[in-house]
């Protein structure tokens, strides 16, 4: 079970209240987590990654285990604590503006 924490506005968009839990078969990577997230919540397509390029949107970052993973390869394995469900994969908005 993979745990994903979304920022407030994306939780509202996806109609979820707290953490999202995903079952993923195969390697646990940024790409596989986001693919599973968007498959379950299609309204989030384009809101985290660009529709066409699948690049992370500029004002969003990916954190886990107190590390900034935003610039890691989308196909790099996520930390074991994320893969085991002990720690969440966090999508967070940059603090700029508001």
């Amino acid at each position: 079970m993979i745990r994903v924490v979304l920022p407030h506005h994306l939780r509202t968009l996806a109609h979820v209240g707290g953490e999202v839990e995903l079952d993923i078969v195969g390697p646990i990577t940024q790409r596989s987590v986001l693919d599973a997230l968007e498959a379950r919540y299609p309204m989030l397509r384009g809101a985290i990654r660009d529709h066409s390029t699948l690049q992370r949107r500029a004002f969003l970052r990916f954190f886990a285990c107190q590390e900034d993973l935003s610039h890691e390869s989308p196909d790099a394995p996520l930390p074991e604590e994320v893969a085991s469900g002990k720690e969440p994969f966090i999508v967070i908005g940059a603090i700029a503006g508001g």
Partner: protein, 393 residues
């Protein structure tokens, strides 16, 4: 009895204001989509309960919302809330605006002029304006930044660019205005659905006569000091265009500076600023029943985006321009420094035409007597980006 429904987009959410035909007792509903920039909401003339909304964010991008019950409930077209996930490709991508680079366009366009004069690739940022079809609730146009026009024919579930606009040849001379390079005005000719006018800041006005396949600039008569050739074919910062649907082809324009009119569907323009205290501004609209009665809100200058002399004044011309009168009754005439943005004025079609506008200070004003007097419907919303009005039976 008739009702009016005012759709207000703000920097931090959408609001729906409703009243009976007297327009003196209002119900304020919202915020919808709180915290998001709501650039524009507009209802289908063919189905008043069908409302499209542009919800945007610098963080999360573009979302299209749709209501089928007059704004009570909303969903993203194609992905209604609570729908169980299904395997396979998505059924719809209502927030997917991808520029057409297909070979069929013949000349996919890749760059426009940037602020510094260099060429810059087209990058989708947001939807500024949604214009539903006059006859089909499922058809709707979207004017976007960077400037292009998209169309959906399935209720907003999927969007496709009309590439003839960007591809017609002048694109490399288009440049962004202070608000970005936005396509902000879409007007469909009720007498000829093949004819559509659009306007871009800063490129100018354009028209199609074949349903969007081909487009041509219609800027003859416009004069802009901030481009090397003030009379150039394109490059003009058109802020808004309005037309009375009962008189298609007569257009009124608020340009960056200058108020203009055209009596030949945009082929030629002439200035009608007349005695306005300043002819810089954003909004312009036309009385629902008197096609020579037009409204503007003069703004001090392009460097000072607030009203002139600290007074919020709507100016009305009953002669199609040149002779203007200040309308001040009920509006602040001291220490007022708000702006009124380009899509933030609208008229209803009740017998005594109502005029509405919203300010960057969060006020939405209504005049139930064609501008003679004004009352605030609500005073303290977030900065208002757009105002549209529905007149309901």
């Amino acid at each position: 009895m008739s009702k009016v429904r005012v759709l207000v987009g703000t920097r931090k959410g959408a609001f729906i204001l409703t009243s009976d035909g007297k327009r003196d007792n209002w119900q304020v509903d919202g915020p919808h989509f709180s915290g998001w920039e709501m650039y524009h909401l507009k209802a289908s003339p063919a189905d008043p309960n069908r409302i499209y909304a542009s919800q945007t964010s610098g963080w999360f991008g573009q979302i299209i919302q749709r209501s089928d019950d007059g704004g009570k409930t909303w969903h993203q077209p194609g992905t209604p809330p609570g729908a169980p996930p299904e395997p396979g490709p998505p059924k719809a991508a209502s927030n997917k605006f991808v520029y057409d680079t297909s070979a069929e366009t013949g000349k996919p366009l890749t760059t426009h002029q940037f602020y510094d004069g260099t060429q810059h690739p087209w990058e989708f940022k947001r939807v500024w304006h949604l214009e539903p079809s006059l006859t089909d609730p499922n058809s709707v146009y979207a004017g976007v930044e960077d400037a292009a026009i998209f169309r959906s024919t399935d209720g907003g579930e999927n969007w496709h660019e009309l590439p003839g606009l960007r591809g017609h040849g002048t694109g490399p001379k288009w440049q962004p205005g202070a608000g970005g390079m936005c396509l902000h005005t879409v007007i469909i000719d009720p007498a000829n659905p093949q004819r559509i006018w659009i306007a871009i800041s800063a490129a100018g006005a354009f028209r199609t006569d074949d349903g969007g396949k081909s487009w041509k600039p219609i800027n003859r008569g416009l004069r802009s000091q901030y481009i090397p050739d003030p009379n150039a074919e394109v490059g003009h910062c058109v802020h808004h265009i309005a037309m009375n649907p009962k008189r298609p082809g007569v257009l009124f324009m608020q340009k960056h500076w200058d108020v203009m009119r055209s009596d030949d569907a945009g082929d030629n323009w002439k200035e009608v600023s007349g005695n306005l205290p300043t002819d810089f501004g954003f909004v312009i609209d036309v009385h629902a029943h008197e096609p020579e009665t037009i409204y503007v809100v003069p703004i001090k200058s392009d460097g000072e985006h607030f009203v002139h002399e600290g007074k919020l004044r709507v100016y009305r011309s009953k002669s199609g321009g040149n002779e203007w009168e200040a309308l001040t009754k009920g509006l602040p005439q001291k220490d007022c420094y708000v702006n009124v943005l380009r899509d933030a004025m609208a008229v209803d079609s009740l017998d005594t035409c109502g005029v509405y506008f919203g300010t960057t200070g969060g006020q939405v004003y209504c005049s139930a007597d064609a501008g003679d007097s004004w009352n605030p419907i609500v005073r303290d919303l977030p900065a208002v980006l757009s105002v549209e009005v529905q007149t309901l039976a």
